[in-house]
């Protein structure tokens, strides 16, 4: 799951013209941030700088630190000419492009249903949210067995409906990616619904009443009031889920190891494989950077699109 979000930053009020009223000396502020800053510098800033440097080198673990060789932009040109890379880009686009919008849409539908006054709402919310808090591994192993082609429950149920020629799921290069998408939607839907529910708390109720008075039907009310008021949430979910889905390799590493063949080798897994199975760190760093730039460009495009559409921003 993604832990990378870009919170909306509201800047603290700037100090007035004379720069400093009654207040503590600079030293105090520094002391307060120091513990966190030292850690972030050591474990985030420095690694980031080194990953950029690494991307311009050819290095594997075996040759030791002395064996680092600068090769300029070769890694990048190789990545861009690498059919395996483009193949995994395509699979990532399918994987994220199908699972994320469906997760968001189904999550919204679920939230609108849960927002009504129904028996046992709290319990329902907890049920749908549960897959999100359970670990990837526990979920993955459960689905692995549920989707076992011969003994799994999923095919038993499908067979009970009279279907024949059942999917081989993770054993089939055609069905493995759809199976991953199903699991991704199942585990993300409740999360999306919970986020939507909190957005619905702030929905403009007076508008609904006014619209009802004017005889607007439910669909019209949704289209003109609910949908626009949920737009920021929708974009937030699309962006965070998209980033999370395009980066997480845990589920793939656990369930298919990128297979059968390379049917489920998505970008994040390809990078993991390059770095940690073949120990080609320079190349892995370059894959990571190219991916990052691509995801960033798409994310910015989404924000732009939202800003253009937003009503009063």
């Amino acid at each position: 799951m993604a832990t990378v979000t870009a919170p909306a930053v509201t800047s603290a009020p700037p100090a007035p013209g004379n720069r400093r009223r009654l207040g503590p000396p600079d030293r105090v502020g520094w002391l307060f941030i120091l513990p966190n800053l030292v850690g972030v510098a050591l474990f985030t800033f420095v690694p980031l700088v080194s990953v950029v440097i690494l991307a311009f080198t050819d290095w594997n673990l075996v040759s030791g630190l002395g064996g680092i060789e600068f090769i300029g932009v070769d890694n990048f040109t190789n990545v861009l000419a690498d059919p395996l890379f483009w193949g995994s880009v395509g699979r990532t686009v399918v994987y994220a492009g199908v699972s994320v919008p469906l997760t968001v849409l189904l999550g919204m539908a679920l939230a609108l249903a849960l927002d009504r006054d129904i028996p046992g709402r709290g319990a329902l919310r907890a049920v749908f949210f549960m897959p999100y808090i359970v670990s990837t591994v526990a979920i993955g192993m459960t689905w692995l067995m549920l989707m076992n082609p011969s003994s799994g429950l999923v095919n038993q149920v499908l067979g009970a409906f009279g279907l024949t020629d059942l999917p081989g799921w993770f054993a089939s290069s055609y069905w493995a990616l759809p199976a991953l998408i199903v699991i991704a939607i199942w585990s993300g839907m409740g999360y999306a619904a919970v986020i939507y529910l909190s957005a619905l708390q702030d929905a403009p109720t007076d508008l609904y009443e006014a619209a009802e008075m004017d005889g607007a039907g439910p669909w019209r009310r949704f289209r003109t009031i609910t949908w626009p008021s949920l737009l920021p949430t929708t974009v937030f979910l699309l962006v965070t889920l998209f980033i999370g889905t395009s980066q997480g390799f845990g589920l793939v590493a656990l369930l298919t190891a990128g297979g059968p063949g390379d049917a489920t080798t998505v970008l994040s897994f390809y990078m993991y494989q390059t770095g940690f199975q073949f120990y080609r760190f320079g190349y892995a760093a370059a894959i990571g950077m190219v991916t990052f730039v691509g995801v960033l460009a798409l994310t910015l495009a989404m924000w732009r699109a939202q800003r253009g559409k937003a009503l009063n921003d």
């Binding site: 930053v9 502020g29 985030t44 907890a126 897959p131 909190s198 940690f276 990052f292």
Partner: protein, 299 residues
């Protein structure tokens, strides 16, 4: 789910006596079930994998493969639990490792993020906004990109394959700092100014005035940090190799092969054990957990 949860009337609807219901209220009451029943059916389908997990964990290995599958294990037996807790591949050491990592990470993150978030929001010092901008910039960096350089570092520092490799990066997070800063920015500055005039020192102002206000946010951050730490699979996958240093997610994978065939009863029992702590935290603190999640971005 017990019947109690099904029949409990939500706070929103005061149970009105039947006699004087307006048609509108009567319609609303019928609609509750009209929407409620399909949603509960969907919820049951959603829960099916978990029900299957529990059911399989209570079967013998042979029964686990019976087709068609039996939802109620007969005979139900705890052998799988005994095996995964006390057997040769006991998950208890990994469980202990997971606890150590989670506790250290939560304490570290909450402490350093609260202090830093407070300073970014409420104290003025030279370079504050530049540093914060740098924080902001890193927040959009995929965590995955950091795995390669961190792996190399920990190799060089001989921390590879130790719990410290999992603990240290998780103790100092940008995201936690954001969360705390967002909270402190919204608090009034007047308290601090008044306290300064009264001669309180900065530490007292933070500790006595602002920290108590922040308890809900701090506990929310703590819950999030715990769940992330507990479920983290990718970091140990890359940074840990010896079985005695495994955390729970790694030790669980030993009970299943890629075909999902190897001892389903054992792997499901291990999974159930691994889920319990997170489930307890979640069910006890559900509201706060959800609040924390919604605060990590929107607003």
């Amino acid at each position: 789910m017990t019947d109690a949860t099904l029949t409990r009337v939500p706070a929103r609807t005061a149970a009105a006596p039947r006699a004087n219901l307006t048609p509108r209220q009567r319609r609303a009451r019928r609609n509750r079930w009209l929407w409620g029943i399909p949603l509960w059916l969907l919820a049951l389908a959603f829960l099916a994998p978990f029900a299957w997990m529990v059911s399989t964990s209570l079967k013998s290995n042979l029964d686990a493969f019976t087709i068609p599958m039996q939802w109620i294990p007969d005979p139900a037996q705890w052998d799988s639990y005994v095996e995964v807790l006390t057997g040769e591949n006991s998950i208890l050491p990994a469980f202990a490792n997971s606890v150590i990592v989670a506790v250290a990470r939560v304490l570290g993150e909450v402490l350093t993020a609260t202090m830093a978030g407070y300073a970014f929001a409420r104290l003025h010092f030279r370079g504050r906004d530049k540093i914060f901008l740098a924080y902001l910039a890193t927040s959009i960096i995929p965590a995955q990109l950091l795995l390669v350089p961190r792996f190399i570092y920990f190799q060089q520092l001989s921390l590879y394959d130790t719990l410290l490799a999992l603990i240290l990066p998780g103790m100092f997070t940008v995201l936690g700092t954001f969360l705390m800063r967002q909270f402190f920015v919204a608090q009034p500055a007047a308290f601090a100014e008044a306290a300064r005039i009264d001669g309180a020192n900065e530490w007292q102002i933070f500790w006595r005035l602002y920290l108590p206000m922040a308890t809900p946010v701090i506990s929310a951050l703590g819950i999030l940090a715990f769940v992330w730490s507990w479920n983290d699979y990718e970091t140990p996958l890359v940074l840990i190799s010896s079985p005695e240093v495994y955390t729970l997610p790694l030790s669980l994978t030993g009970f299943a092969d890629e075909q999902g065939a190897l001892a389903p009863n054992l792997s499901m029992a291990a999974s159930v054990v691994s889920i319990i702590p997170v489930l307890i935290v979640f069910l006890l603190l559900q509201k706060r957990f959800v609040q924390a999640l919604t605060h990590t971005g929107i607003k």
